[in-house]
């Protein structure tokens, strides 16, 4: 096995040293040929030794995928589906300790700081490399309480009744072309079950890494929070920079039952040539709370609109989203709130930053169904544009089928103020420091919602993005 790890940081497109931009020379134990057809899908299913129902689900999904046109809105998608590797198995077994993980993959995650974070403040970790989860852990007391935190492939084998009851119920394959694609070729992702009344204090974290060029990563995550239970799940994603595109297309389904609470935090920093097309949706039942916190940096094109469907009275949905678009990037991000029951409360706060010709779009839906009396829905989206080459658009959709509701929508677009820059510079801050400070101030209302470690990480990532530009 080749063990040569290139640790030399490379300059990326915007001329910065990027700690995520390194590639591991790692030899896959199995790599399906490029392209997408029934044979590949059947092969993935067979490699995973799946039950027949899952194999059928995949093949059915492939048909749906083939029958659906590409989305005509959002960003420019220049994808050749036949030029992608859909399945790459990096190792034969999943490690329970980091020592079980093949050396070069372990080093990858060490460079990314995952084992250290685990020791310090996490209740459990999953690390996915290409198509498979290569490492998994969960604190012993949580295992005792009946918490399940495993990769979705293992869950298909070991918790099949539970999984089958919910899998594909929140986001069916027919939902959209990329949900169908994921349903056909999915691999990896997290499966979480939190039993009644169990409140997990520390976050569970998953880390997704694409290493190979022309690779598709299609993880599939399913989270079930039972009555009165509580969990905070965090995911981080990175990939090195290649000359040709890679694709990341995940499906995330969350079910929060009565009085349950789930917070799902994403901090992604994909390389600038990743297409990131993700479907995320949660069903929140009576008096349940679902929160999405979504930090989108990097990628060539991101299309992602986390959704909360408030299914029963008293449910609450909150979506906080930050998008940062730099040179050559388009973040088409937003959120969806669907009020399907009375007395439900929803809130969207979206902040976008565009710089160096980057483009950010906010695309959001606030929907109140008939009978959802006394629904309250509030949408705030603010955009900050750092230079004349950059761009920001807002596409708010509002559908209301009920009289007795309260809906608020505010949008603002501001250019970084010359007067603000001058004020800060007149007190000795360089132009770069001043603009970073203004940007950090702009997203501060969101960052203060994050646990300390993630807030620090997000600020650091933004700093990196900012440094690439000025001067």
């Amino acid at each position: 096995m080749a063990l040569d790890i290139s640790l030399e940081p490379e300059q990326d497109a915007i001329g910065e040293i990027n700690k995520y931009n390194f590639r591991t020379e790692s030899k896959a134990v199995f790599k399906a040929r490029k392209g997408l057809d029934r044979e590949i899908v059947a092969q993935i299913s067979e490699m995973k030794d799946e039950p027949g129902w899952m194999r059928d689900f995949r093949l059915k999904s492939l048909e749906i995928f083939d029958s659906k046109p590409m989305p005509r809105w959002g960003g420019a998608l220049d994808l050749n589906f036949q030029d992608i590797y859909y399945y790459l198995k990096p190792t034969n077994k999943q490690g329970r300790t980091w020592d079980d993980v093949p050396e070069e993959i372990k080093e990858t995650f060490e460079k990314l700081g995952i084992p250290e974070a685990e020791r310090k403040y996490l209740a459990g970790v999953k690390a996915q490399f290409e198509s498979e989860v290569v490492y998994g852990s969960l604190k012993e007391d949580l295992v005792q309480k009946g918490v399940i935190f495993t990769d979705t492939d293992t869950a298909v084998r070991e918790h099949s009744d539970l999984l089958r009851q919910y899998f594909g119920t929140v986001i069916p394959p027919s939902d959209n072309k990329f949900a169908a694609l994921n349903s056909a070729v999915w691999s990896g992702g997290s499966f979480i079950y939190v039993p009644k009344g169990v409140k997990i204090e520390f976050p569970l974290q998953a880390y997704f890494r694409i290493n190979e060029e022309n690779m598709g990563q299609f993880e599939r995550t399913l989270i079930i929070v039972d009555e009165g239970a509580q969990v905070h799940y965090v995911e981080g994603c990175t990939a090195p920079m290649y000359s040709s595109e890679s694709l990341h297309s995940a499906v995330v389904e969350v079910i929060v039952k009565k009085n349950g609470r789930c917070r799902y935090t994403t901090i992604q920093n994909w390389a600038n040539n990743i297409y990131n097309l993700v479907t995320k949706r949660a069903f929140a039942y009576r008096d349940a709370v679902m929160e999405w916190v979504d930090g989108n940096l990097g990628s060539q094109l991101t299309m992602k609109y986390p959704a909360v469907y408030m299914m029963e009275p008293g449910a609450r949905g909150e979506i906080l989203s930050i998008a940062f678009s730099g040179k050559g990037q388009h973040q088409d991000a937003g959120a969806k709130l669907v009020h399907a029951a009375p007395n439900t409360t929803g809130q969207i706060i979206s902040k976008s930053i565009s710089k160096n010709g980057g483009r950010s779009s906010y695309r959001g839906l606030a929907k109140v169904e008939k009978g959802a009396k006394n629904a309250k829905c509030n949408v705030v989206c603010d955009a900050l544009i750092l230079d004349p080459e950059s761009r920001s658009d807002t596409y708010p959709y509002i559908e209301i089928a009920e009289q007795d509701v309260s809906i608020g929508h505010e949008a603002s677009v501001s250019r970084i103020g010359e007067e603000q820059l001058f004020y800060l510079m007149s007190r000795g801050l360089s132009e770069a420091e001043a603009s970073t400070m203004i940007v950090n101030g702009f997203i501060e209302p969101l960052v203060k919602e994050l646990p300390m470690e993630y807030a620090v990480e997000l600020n650091r990532l933004i700093q990196l993005q900012m440094e690439g530009s000025v001067g």
Binding site: Y423, L424, G428, P445
Partner: protein, 275 residues
């Protein structure tokens, strides 16, 4: 050696409109100067240009700090060189805590050669100093956690400007109506603080329409600016005269400057019509 800030025959335009038309002024470190003049005469413009505001075009003249021309320097370099301008209308920076901002600013001004990313003043040291200075200004320490000028009352903004002056300890400071918006007690406190902070240690240029600030900071020189030109310079008695009698005599004796001032401040008929 006495340190000096010298303005030589400074001409400034904005959008092609002449605002300063030959300003000459020399301030030695340790001196206090008052700058007075009718609305729109160019006082704030002078302050902003000394600080390096990018929107004003210097068409001729020089600004010398200890004999060295600073016109090519960016605002941050001027701040690090020891110049400070307390804004007539401070700018809000939402989301940026006053304490964080001040820690960066103080670090940079104290180590002018600091490279980005190098260490800031240690937190403990900075906090102790900030707390002490806020105490002197009777500011609640919670205030340092507020976002810079965001939602501050008029008086709070001015007090925050004085706090920054106290932390940054510049060689030369221009205080632009730092006494406006303050209640009677606050003006007294502010005036005393400025005397303590500035006093002998700084060269002060105080722009004001009131007399309270000058009571505690008696100017050695009073300059009167009209229509973008300093038309008269005198001692403290000149400030006193302007406070009691206004600008009538000055206008009479300097009709050309007075006319230029009126021309700049008059509202165009088109604007009145709402066009």
């Amino acid at each position: 050696m006495i340190e000096t800030l010298e303005i030589r025959d400074l001409h400034v335009e904005i959008e092609g409109k002449p605002i300063l038309r030959g300003v000459n002024l020399q301030i030695n470190r340790g001196e206090t100067h008052a700058l007075m003049g009718p609305n729109g005469s160019g006082k704030s413009t002078l302050g902003l240009v000394i600080m390096g505001h990018p929107n004003y075009e210097v068409t001729s003249g020089e600004i010398l700090l200890n004999g060295e021309n600073i016109l090519e320097m960016e605002a941050d370099e001027r701040a690090r060189a020891g110049i400070f301008y307390a804004f007539q209308r401070p700018i809000a920076i939402p989301g940026v805590k006053l304490a964080d901002f001040l820690r960066h600013a103080t670090t940079n001004v104290r180590n002018p050669d600091r490279k980005e990313g190098e260490d800031l003043i240690p937190m403990r040291e900075f906090r102790a100093e900030l707390k002490e200075k806020m105490g002197q200004l009777r500011m609640d320490t919670d205030f340092a956690r507020r976002y810079v000028n965001d939602g501050f009352s008029g008086g709070e903004m001015k007090r925050a400007e004085i706090l920054q002056l106290a932390m940054l300890q510049p060689k030369f400071a221009i205080l632009d109506e730092t006494d406006s918006g303050l209640d009677a007690d606050a003006v007294r406190l502010a005036s005393q603080s400025i005397a303590e902070i500035g006093g002998e240690r700084m060269g002060l240029l105080i722009i004001t329409h009131h007399d309270k600030l000058l009571e505690h900071n008696p100017p050695q020189y009073t300059h009167v600016i009209v229509g973008g030109r300093i038309v008269e310079t005198g001692g403290p008695e000149l400030a006193a005269e302007l406070h009691t009698k206004g600008y009538e005599r000055i206008r009479r004796e300097h009709p050309e400057a007075s006319e230029a001032n009126d021309k700049n401040t008059e509202v165009e008929p088109a604007e009145l019509a709402g066009a």
